[in-house]
Symmetry: C2
Amino acid sequence: MMTSSLHTLDTPAAIIDVPRAMKNIRRMQDHMNALGVAFRPHVKTSKCEQVVLAQLGAGARGITVSTLKEADQFFASGITDILYAVGIAPHRLPHALELRRRGCALTIITDSVVSAREIADFGRAHGEKFPVLIEVDTDGHRSGLHPEGDELLKVAAVLHDGGMEVKGVMTHAGSSYELDTPDALETLAEQERAGCVTAAERVRAAGVPCPVVSVGSTPTALSAKDLRGVTEVRAGVYVFFDLVMHNVGVCAMGDIALSVLTTVIGHQPEKGWLIVDAGWMAMSRDVGTSKQKRDYKYGQVCAIDGTPMAGYLLSGANQEHGIVALEGSADADIVARYPVGTRLRILPNHACATGAQFEKYQALSPDGSVQEWGRFHGW
Amino acid sequence: MMTSSLHTLDTPAAIIDVPRAMKNIRRMQDHMNALGVAFRPHVKTSKCEQVVLAQLGAGARGITVSTLKEADQFFASGITDILYAVGIAPHRLPHALELRRRGCALTIITDSVVSAREIADFGRAHGEKFPVLIEVDTDGHRSGLHPEGDELLKVAAVLHDGGMEVKGVMTHAGSSYELDTPDALETLAEQERAGCVTAAERVRAAGVPCPVVSVGSTPTALSAKDLRGVTEVRAGVYVFFDLVMHNVGVCAMGDIALSVLTTVIGHQPEKGWLIVDAGWMAMSRDVGTSKQKRDYKYGQVCAIDGTPMAGYLLSGANQEHGIVALEGSADADIVARYPVGTRLRILPNHACATGAQFEKYQALSPDGSVQEWGRFHGW
């Protein structure tokens, strides 16, 4: 078989810089080890067996998933300790049961009395003691119960009295994506920790065992200085990082391990535009840096070797066309500098969204060879 | 086999309202018939065999694709007349040649002397007379040569003298998506027509046959009153329509044939939020209505029967979580009104982007039954 390289792959292609990804994995695991907590990576970012096995190899204990399809796929890869970290819809309980009956140590989550009752009723009816984490809201971001509220204890009681296993509490301080200073991040990490620990202590004080205290988001995980009372941390996007995370301040541009390889297919010389074959179908429609301190439009353009080209952004995107332009003033020499056929790489705003646009990754080794790593999508 | 319905499908799911799609197909084809031009649908919107066969059944002549993967897939479905409407990158010429050698009547496009030379050199080297459309820019939107410029004639000469078939000229007035009045749309449709016809006449005057004059975008196609000199029209999103097209003014809300079925998985009662299982992974990150006259955020929420719920929008989206809220003031009764397990449908901003998030569609018949229609993605 001929070895593929960045010069021979069809474009657009999703390139994983393997040494960077491994460095990112190591960095997070080392930080978690230093803080004395277990680490449970969120695999929704990569949906890729090779990446997840590397995370487990580095020391992760179990995985976090955002869909039961991810649970199915990674259970088929031999991973049994799986947390499904989206509040379970009652119609999915049969699927969760089926996974557990096949030997998957699946944990589910809930944040309402109604759902807790459905879980308990279904579990009892089928002789299954579901392990459940109760979701807590520590930053007003999305889901979860107030750590100091009555509902938390009601949910714990409904599950416990209903014969289910209250395995613990969990939270996700997703508002960390909106911050961009180390102090603010450290403060939110502490708020996330304190809120979740408070919730656990209240559940325990009510007489319900609550061993697990699970927190995390990439920015808070990397910014936490002290995780007393926490038993595990979850994070996903750190494995690749992206321009949003760079703006948040938790990675350097040179840590971003996912890029889109693209080919120049035309020009608009008077406008100083390159037309490339990476549009929004390749990059996704995510413009997550548009409200951050540095707006990268649809992505930062790099040379084929990964060196960022200062000021060149993917300034516009149609379905299969991208427009590359130099910020500020048009590049009058852009046609000569980047003729048709030139290959470039684009760093994405949001690795989870860009990765999801592709059926497979191309894993780039330091020797310049690439190999396919599968990924799945859908539900 | 048990018949599926909107009440039993797993969520999120991409629902095609079949009667609406058929009505949209019929409407466009009737309009093209009335204007006396051939219609060549852009299949990048659906990437679905059943939809495309319905378009051909209604009278379409050939298809338009945005990737060679689409060409491969639809050629495998028995469709031979295919226009690959993205400027061809030289490294894709062997793939195009292989399709033609297998019997696919593939036409390619270009808008530069450099690419035209590559096509001619490659074609001659392999004894293949590629049919080529020259891309013309009629609205400054993206790619294409000026209809009155010298480059147009140079490209025509390079192809013609190089032994290729200058099949014609083509343009896409994509800036039509930014308009929202019938007058402005009709004016742009005329500008698109006139520019493309001018280009064809200039090529012919230079002694190069140029039979095809191909124009189109959904808004201009539906707004054109006269297409003298045009031989074919291309459009894609009209088959499903979406909220962006509704804002542009070329469809009613009730024409939108694609929606995402979702389940309520939780609440934040104090905020008046529903948490649903359709986040940006289901809807895409497209917020194309955010700068239009009506901002629908991530989508318009409807009851399971498709009736829009006035003021309820998908106001926020994380990967697998969506936040539904009533605009203006919080709905204090939202928990009672839409309990956990309630099924809703969300109309998307951009059907091409939302469809691409799914592995398959669920085609909804008037009797309430659904069946799977496949779709593909990637390159």
